[in-house]
């Protein structure tokens, strides 16, 4: 097994990503590193469980034709996953420079993919723009980094995925939020098997749950009337 490691490709929040070659194919080695701020005992449980979930969910999604990197080798003891290398750029780096048509197709594609994922009772847990890769040549989008993913039939988890995506756009490109979400929901409704309306309603509920959200305070309307 001729494995050739090329270079440190990216340093994520919890792992080091190394690019390499395996049997002539480009691969990615994802190594979950030890954290100096965590107690060693916690750290070990942590890295092990996250690696395990990620590998399990990646393979299930890959078999169901969701655009994710194919997992190739898993080493639980050292918290390493070796997976297929995906050509593409992070959506968080691209979104500011995308024209409106590009943005629309990307959002629609992402909606479709997310819908399929949720139909399999899988949630991502960290669906932000940095975890979405866009391949400019074949216009495909890929979802990556499933460390916080899991299985659930609770629509709450699906709604949180959409909520996180929404907030990540709001932080990075607030002016593109409306267009993006409109197309995302269009794609999502086409592929999600459950009740889309119910999920979207929950998304709104989660937003209102944030601290000091004034819309929650009905009295505000009364007060505004009084001022006028």
């Amino acid at each position: 097994m001729a494995t050739q490691l090329v270079n440190v490709f990216d340093k994520g929040a919890e792992s080091v990503i190394i690019q390499g070659e395996l049997l002539g194919k480009k691969i990615i080695v994802k190594y979950r590193v030890k954290k100096p701020y965590r107690h060693p005992k916690f750290d070990e449980i942590f890295r092990k469980t996250r690696t395990k979930t990620e590998a399990k969910i990646l393979s299930e999604l890959y078999m169901n034709k969701v655009n994710v990197p194919a997992p190739l080798i898993v080493d639980l003891k050292n918290s390493i996953i070796i997976m297929e290398h995906i050509e593409g750029q992070k959506l968080s780096d691209l979104i500011e420079y995308m024209d409106i048509e590009e943005l629309k197709t990307t959002a629609y594609q992402l909606g479709l993919q997310t819908g399929i994922m949720h139909s399999l009772n899988i949630y991502h847990g960290d669906l932000t723009l940095a975890n979405i890769l866009v391949n400019k040549s074949n216009k495909k989008i890929y979802i990556i980094d499933f460390g916080l993913a899991g299985y659930s039939r609770d629509i709450e988890e699906y709604a949180i995925d959409i909520h996180l995506l929404r907030r990540s756009i709001l932080a990075l490109a607030p002016d593109k939020l409306d267009v993006f979400m409109e197309k995302f929901i269009k794609g999502y409704s086409e592929s999600y098997h459950g009740n889309v309306h119910e999920v979207l309603q929950r998304v709104e509920e989660i937003r209102l749950r944030g601290r000091y959200v004034e819309e929650r305070l009905k009295k505000k309307m009364l007060r505004d009337k009084y001022i006028e």
Binding site: K11, T128, A130, L164, R167, A171, R211, Y212, E214
Partner: protein, 353 residues
Amino acid sequence: MYVDILGNVKDNIYILGIESTSHTFGIGVVEYNVREKSLKIIANEYDRYVPMKGGIHPREAALHHTRTAPQVLRKALERAGIKIKNINAIAVALGPGLGPCLRVGASLARFLASYYKLKLIPVNHAVAHIEIGKYLFNFKDPLIIYVSGGNTLIAIQKNKKYRILGETLDIPLGNLFDTFTREIGLSPPYVIDGKHQIDICAEWGKEFIPLPYTVKGSDLSFSGLLTAALIQAKEYKNNKEKLGNICLSLRETAFNMLVEVAERSLVLTGKKEVLLVGGVASNKYLREKLIAMTRVHGAKYAGTPPEYAGDNGAMIALTGFLSYIYNIHIEPEKAFIRQRWRLDEVELPWLPN
């Protein structure tokens, strides 16, 4: 720093800030010195309400504020060495916070502004916490970690607003520690000699026990952690060491969650500075964890010192000054309090990006 906007100002500028959002009634004064072209905090007086039992009772806290307000105001002016007629504007924290408490500060501010014919400047309490941190360490564009009894969030500045990247979905971190120590009978008092009860209790423990760890993307949830810790604590009511283990693990788990989302946000945004603000910023264990985390990513770290970490009037005065030079003010009759006033709603013209 503010020279280009203040080009033709001839006299020193004095802003008085009033803080009364929760347990603290505070008044601070800042001075902009024209000759030195510098901004200084020249007074920061406060009085804290400590409950006899239970948590903060809004009415009792408001009563405390009403009683101490004149004294705190007098002390602040004395410390600053100025008369009220020298002051250019009154800044007041109109929210977010507890209604009855906010009303005390707002009433005082409205009175001072209308009686002495001064400008009245509305200040968001959360913005003030961040601005004082940026001022103290001269940070321009940090990743902000704001942790207190009322807030737990991660934010960055973008398009003249603070944008929230992640926050708690239920209770804040400060509230988690306060509630836990209260329920197991240690608090009040919540803080002894600058040390929180949770840290004192954690010193009794040696062993780590697993507790629920809930991170959803960049959002956090502490309520499950609190319940689980309380259930375990009930079993070991009289066992000091076992109780210590729970405190130790509770603190470790909660901080790990926060540091993890902070780290993720740091990588996502690629910021070079990390700023910890809010009451919990004085906790040395959180500080240690964040220093270790930022070192890995080569970012600068700073946390507000205890004097300015908790609620105080100086931060309101400082934010008031920034608003003053951008001509933000309201009529006293329209200065309503806002119990719910989110950080990301406030438009801030002084932000560089």
